[in-house]
Every structure is written in C-alpha cells, then in structure tokens.
C-alpha cells in the first residue's frame, strides 16, 4: 500500500505547526521523518495516523482519498500508530496490554476471556518481531525498550500494512534503542512499510531507506539515505552550516600542570541501595567528569546519594575536604550541590509556574520570611540573558517554552544558587541540536570558571565531546576509567557498558 500526503497544513491557535508538508510512503520501505524540535515531524505523522486532522491538504491510500477520523479509523484501513509516550499499563499482563482495546475478540461463549488463546496469539506476534519477551513476564519489571516493543506488537496486532512510529526511542537507553531498531529491521525484512520520527541521525541511517526533512513546519525534501551525507542532512535540518562540532573546544591545557583544581567531591567506596556497589571517584574544580552506563548501571543512584535523596548503604563522601553526609536535598543545595534531574517534567521544573518561579525556587531571595520580588526579577533577568532563555518575560509560564528552553530554565535554577558542584543527568535529553550547542557552551563556560561538574548521559558523543575524564559503569561497578575523554571512542565505552 502506498500512503501519500501532499501539502498538509495544521495550526494550533497562532502556531503553524505544519505548513505545506508532503510525504510519500512507498510499499516495503522504511521512511524516516527528521527535523529539529518544532519542525512538525510528530504533527505530520499524527495526521497520517488519524490522530490529528489536517486543516488543509490531501492524503491518499493506494490512490483512494484517505481521511481517517481517528487512530482507530486509520487502523481499520491498515495504518497503525505507536505513540511517543509509553502507554503500557503496568498492572496488566503483556497480552492484555497488546489487546487492550480488543479483549472481546477472545471472549468465550460465557463472556469470559480465553487467556490461553490470547497469550498464544500475543506470543506469536512478539516472536514475529523478534522481541525476546515472554507473554508471562511481569510488565512491572520490563524495561522501557521492552515496553516499546510491546507497543509495537500492539500496533501490529491489527495487521496493519503501514506502521507509524512517533519518536519511539526518545526515552530509551542505548541497549533499549538497539532492541527497538532490531525490531524495525526485522519488520523491514518482512516487507512492512514503516514511517518513523527520530531525533537521532545514526538511528535513521541505520534502518531507513528514505528520509524526509522538515524545518519550521515546512517540507525541505525527501532523499534516499544512501544518497545524502549526514552532514548534508544536518545542514538541511538546521538551515545553517553547523560548526564543525557542537561541542565547544576544551580549554588549552597547560602541559606543566596536571591537576586542574582542588578536589571538590570525593566519593569513597560508596554503595547505594541495590543499584550501586562500592564506587570511588573524585571530581575537581573546573573539571567535567563523565559517567557512561546503561540505565540502572548506578549513575542515577550515585546522583541520588550525592544530592541527599537516597541514603548511603556503605562508604563516605567529602565535599571540599570536609566530611559530607547529606541528609536531604535541602542539605545538599545549602552545601552548594546543585542537581539537574533526568526527568525534566516531573523532577526538574513545574511547567505551570513562571520562568521566574522556577529559576529562584532553590534559593528564593528574601528579607526574613518575606520574598524579595525585586531581587528575584534581577536574578531571573540575569540568568535569562546569560543562559539565552528565549522568553518574552520572566513572568511567562513555562508551559509555552520548547524542550530546549525548559532545560535551560532548569540549568538556570541550578546556577542561581552559585553551586560548587553540579550534577547533570542527561542535560540534553529531548533537546534539539541548536539548543544543545548552547547548553554545551554554558556547561563548558561554568566549568572554566571553576565549577566541578559530573555529567551522566546516555548520549555517547556528548560524553566524549564534553567530559574531561570518563568513568564507565556497569551493574553498579566502575568497569573502565578513561583519563582523557577526548581520545575515547564510542566502541571503547560501549564495550565496557554492556
């Protein structure tokens, strides 16, 4: 089946999300839709899937007019969507999740569900896509990549001819991404037509044969992946020549000096919960220490311990030479330890609040009990200017900001307290290329001013490009130490991770 869309338009209020996009999905091809945040990728895909109705434009399916009234309507026509967010209910079984909207199919004569038949059909689909998941698994214990595979299985259970995947790898770590890409590859081998949206060019180049580039809601072009260079794709996505690297240059090293600055944090033989076992590390002023590892390898637990959110099971810590045993996040912040959590929307900031409210949340300026609003406006204004947060006024709600700008607000909140140690957990997750470069610039700039930074990331190039030193974690242990991160290769790191 061929699905075509020509000249699609879609606006939300004042915002033109999609402005003249055309896509042709040819049978049996994997087609990637790429672009920066806000380029209209997801909106375009959602229109193909019946989740949004175009304001204008034509869509055809095998030459016939195609105007699905809903996602379910599209599915009955053979076009199935996998959402960006994980929509698995963890209190239901794997098979129940796959057939959640069609459990009736398996009803027996008395109306009871024939579980055995449902599970065997579910298992058959999972096997077909090469997902190594048993239907008897406890959904509560599966990782996000496995949950994503179950969602793909759900989409396939309606026997679609065309599968649409919206940012399927956004929340996944390296290993989980590989599992999802394997499934896409498997389906490609079976002749399925697939369109997917992605932020990551390496994923796109790994599985897609064709790609459509969007920019600012407009159609840039459709290309064969074999005929366009990655650099060219970047260029067309961003619309300007990218600097050779989005990572700012490291400060030139004085060859005579080996140590950077005094040690700010020293972690000795620390164990936390079940996730982290006997880790020792130190980070110096002016240094960026990178932590590589899969989800659950221990970086998150280490951050939780340093920021006072989880107690140590074993070991001790020193901050600026003095004993450091944070009893709460309050204690950690007061000691100058700022923390940027990995989950921006649930842990980093309050989206309903204003930019100012979020920026001064950690240390509100005050006269005794009274909040000093005038001082807060000055602080927030300075941070907005320094970090380059694009916002009309500091009183604007964070709701209206893009992912990159929101992350800058969280960084601003950390910097507002004048920290001596900054913990960054995936600081550029869901942030587009342009804002990423700016965030890297800010991080590097603060390090140069003497801030000690620990950077935990699932993005290998980011770790290599930003860190001075690198530690690789696996199952709660340090498996590899790289003294000069600039010389490390992804291959090198991944080998010690998995």
């Amino acid at each position: 089946m061929t699905l075509t869309a020509s000249n699609l338009h879609k606006s939300y209020g004042q915002t033109r999300a999609v402005n003249g996009v055309s896509i042709e999905l040819r049978p049996g091809t994997v087609h990637a839709i790429v672009g920066e945040n806000g380029a209209g990728k997801s909106t375009s895909l959602r229109m193909l899937a019946g989740a949004e109705r175009p304001d204008a434009g034509e869509m055809t399916l095998n030459g016939a007019r195609y105007a699905p009234p809903s996602v379910i309507g599209a599915a009955t026509l053979g076009v199935s969507l996998v959402y960006q967010e994980i929509t698995i209910n963890r209190s239901l079984s794997v098979a129940e999740n796959i057939f959640i909207d069609r459990l009736r199919m398996f009803a027996g004569s008395l109306g009871f569900i024939d579980r055995r038949r449902m599970e065997s059909v579910a298992q058959a689909i999972l096997e077909r896509i090469g997902a190594q998941i048993s239907v008897s698994s406890d959904t509560g214990r599966l990782n996000l990549g496995e949950l994503k595979c179950i969602e793909i299985a759900r989409a396939l259970s309606t026997s679609p001819k065309i599968l649409l995947l919206d940012e399927s790898t956004a929340y996944l770590d390296h290993r989980e991404v590989q599992a999802v890409l394997r499934v896409i590859g498997e389906l490609k081998g079976q002749g399925m037509t697939i369109a997917f949206v992605s932020h990551h060019l390496d994923e796109v180049l790994a599985v897609a044969q064709e790609l459509t580039i969007l920019k600012d809601g407009q159609f840039v072009g459709t290309y064969r992946t074999s005929e366009i260079a990655p650099r060219e794709i970047h260029h067309r996505m961003v619309g300007r020549e990218l600097a050779k690297s989005i990572y700012p240059p490291r400060p030139a090293k004085d060859p005579g000096k080996t140590a950077r600055g005094p040690i700010v944090l020293e972690v000795s033989d620390v164990a936390v919960g079940r996730e982290l076992n006997n880790i020792s590390l130190d980070v110096r002023a002016g240094e960026i220490l990178g932590l590589a590892g899969l989800k659950g390898a221990g970086a998150k637990a280490l951050f939780a311990a340093i920021c006072g959110d989880l107690p140590l099971r074993h070991g001790s810590m020193k901050l600026a030479g003095g004993s450091y045993a944070p009893s709460s996040p309050t204690f950690a912040w007061r000691q100058g330890v700022a923390h940027l959590p990995g989950d921006r929307n649930n842990e980093g900031l309050i989206a309903e609040f204003s930019v100012l409210d979020n920026l001064v949340m950690a240390r509100p300026p005050r006269h005794g009990p009274v909040f000093d609003r005038a001082a807060a406006i000055t602080i927030a204004g300075d941070l907005v200017a320094q970090i380059g947060i694009k916002v009309q006024s500091v009183d604007a709600s964070c709701r209206s900001l893009s992912g990159g700008n929101l992350q800058k607000v969280v960084i601003g909140k950390c910097l507002a307290v004048g920290p001596r140690l900054l913990l960054l957990n995936n600081p550029t997750r869901g942030v587009d290329v342009g804002a990423r470069a700016e965030i890297y610039r800010i991080i590097r700039q603060w390090a140069a001013q003497g801030l000690a930074i620990i950077l935990s990331s699932e993005d290998m190039p980011e770790l290599i490009g930003m860190s001075d030193r690198l530690l690789v974690l696996r199952q709660g242990y340090v498996t590899h130490r790289i003294e000069t991160a600039a010389d490390a290769t992804e291959h090198d790191i991944i080998g010690h991770m998995a």
Binding site: G13, W333, R334, G348, I350, E352, R366
Partner: protein, 322 residues
C-alpha cells in the same frame, strides 16, 4: 484579513476573563436575585448578619486555602473548631478574652498532629484527617457527654461580640486575618513553597524545599485558624456544643473551591476564598430570607458548587480529572 490571526487570542483571553471573574459574577447575581425576591435582604442589618455568619467559615477557609493549594486536604476542621470552642468555654470564665490563647494552642496542636501524620507518617491527608475528624469529635463528646457548656464571662463576650463603629469585632478579626493570609500567600517564601509543593511535590523535594516541614507548618496554621474560628463560634452561640462545627469541613472546602482554588494544587487565591465564603453564606442566608423550602436548600447548594467548578476549572492545566 488582518484580524483573522488575532481573533483566537482575543477569544481565549475573553474566555479566561469570564472564568476568572466567575466567582465575583456569581456573587453579584445572587445579590441581585435575592434583593429582588426579598426587600429585607439588601439591608445593612442583614448584610451584617451575613458577615457574622460567614466569619467562622472564612477564618477556617483561609487556612484551608493553603492546604488545598499544596494539593492536600483537611477533613477535621469542623472537629477542631468544636474542640477549640469547648476549650474556650472551659477557660473563658477564668481567662476572659485571653481564652483565645488556649483556643489557638489547642487548634494548632490538633493541626500539628495532622501535619506530622501526613508529612512524617506518610498517611495520605484524606485518610489522616478523616480519622482525626472522628477522634477530635470523639474527644469533644467524651468531655461534654453530649451536653452543651455555656459561656457566660462578660468580658469575654464583650470582647468578641461587641461592635466598634457598628462593625462586629468578629468581622474585624476576620478582615485582619484575611489580610495576613493574603500577605503570607503572596509575599512570603513560605507561601511560594506551599504553592510549589502543590505544583509538583517531587520537583519541590529535589529542589531542596523542606517539604515535610512546610506541610506541618501549613497544618498548624490551619489548626490555629480553626482555633480562632471555634472561639468566634462559641462566642456567637454563648456555648460550646458537641455538635458545633459538624459538616463545617464541607462548607469550608466548598468555599475554597468555588473561589477558584482547584483541589489539584499549585494555584490558590485568598480573594477567591473570600468570594467563595460570601457565595456560600449568602446562598444560605438568601434562601432562608426568601423562604425557600428548607428541604430544597441542600439540592441548590450542591448544584451551585458543581456548576461553579464546572465553569472555573482550568482543564488545560489539570489535564486528567480524577
């Protein structure tokens, strides 16, 4: 069409304006309807009665605004008011007007228990305060054995029921407390922390806000205000009864919510709460004045509550309604 793109924004702004001014519009509408139906409604003496009736509700609702803004709830306010009234009755004969000190102390202590249960014991506020509601009421029953305790001390009654410049002292106390609550919510770090807890508790914790401590303070504040409410109610009735304040929690929550503070937290307004209190009080008073069948009144009150929330609630911010 130069206007075409500007239109949706202006409409959205208009809708927002309607939502925000809805409590005030409702209040005006009630006043207009009741004054048409009853000539005695819009008189100075009746309005003073409304203010007096509303003061107890107002004082408790000011405290409840904090608790609801933080995304919690307190069902025990009616029982705390009853305990405070009882303590007032017991101590006013010896302490006179100074009976306000034990009243506030007992209220604050009851609030402290609620706050510690929630913040340290991690018992959800709905359950913790539902239990507290029953226990505090039980304490009142135990001490009174169901019989009213009268308040006769002249100095006490003079202080809290007399008028200055024609305005009852209880109303003046209510006004002062309203100003204080307004200042705390809008001008203090504590007010911002309460709001941040309601907006995103996990964010607040990880940003270093002392969430447990703020929650306890907030319940102590509500308890202390309920202490004052109990004293004012006792002074008005010249007695503390075992039934005093029964069902008050529902009126208090209704007043806060009708005033535009959603139960989901993160948002709250003292002005809204004052309007909510006036709406709830005027509705009862007006229905009595105009002779609405007493058996019909609850149906009207409940309908008004749901309608107010239906219009004012901001579904975009809340997303999922539970």
């Amino acid at each position: 069409m130069p206007n075409a793109s500007g239109e949706p924004i202006r409409n959205a702004g208009r809708l927002e304006l309607i939502k925000r001014s809805f409590p005030l519009a409702m209040l005006v509408l009630l006043i207009v309807i009741f004054s048409i139906l009853s000539p005695r409604f819009l008189t100075f003496s009746n309005l003073l009665i409304v203010l007096q009736q509303g003061t107890v509700l107002l004082v408790a609702a000011l405290g409840m605004t904090f608790v609801i803004m933080a995304g919690s709830i307190d069902l025990s306010v009616g029982s705390i008011v009853a305990i405070a009234a009882l303590v007032t009755a017991f101590t006013s004969s010896s302490l006179g007007a100074a009976a306000i000190i034990p009243a506030i102390t007992v209220g604050a202590a009851a609030g402290l228990v609620n706050g510690v249960l929630l913040a340290k014991g991690k018992v959800p506020s709905f359950i913790a305060t539902m239990g507290a509601m029953v226990v505090y009421r039980g304490i009142v029953l135990l001490f009174t054995r169901g019989a009213p305790v009268s308040i006769e001390d002249e100095q006490f009654l003079d202080t809290y029921t007399n008028r200055t410049l024609g305005i009852p002292h209880s109303v003046i106390i209510g006004l002062v407390l309203t100003l204080i609550a307004y200042g705390i919510i809008n001008r203090t770090v504590f007010g911002r922390e309460v709001r941040a807890i309601g907006g995103g508790e996990r964010v607040a914790i990880l940003t270093g806000i002392q969430v447990a401590r703020v929650k306890i303070y907030m319940y102590v504040l509500l308890g202390a205000l309920c202490g004052i409410a109990g004293l004012l109610q006792g002074a008005r009735a010249m007695a503390a009864t075992a039934q005093l304040g029964e069902g008050l929690e529902l009126d208090v929550i209704a007043a806060v919510v009708v005033g535009g503070t959603p139960l989901t937290g993160g948002v709250g307004s003292v002005v809204g709460t004052v309007l909510g209190v006036l709406i709830i009080t005027l509705l009862s008073n007006g229905m009595n004045m105009t002779g609405v069948d007493p058996y019909l009144q609850n149906i009207v009150k409940g309908t008004v509550l749901v309608c107010a929330v239906f219009v004012t609630i901001d579904r975009k911010k809340i997303g999922i309604i539970k």
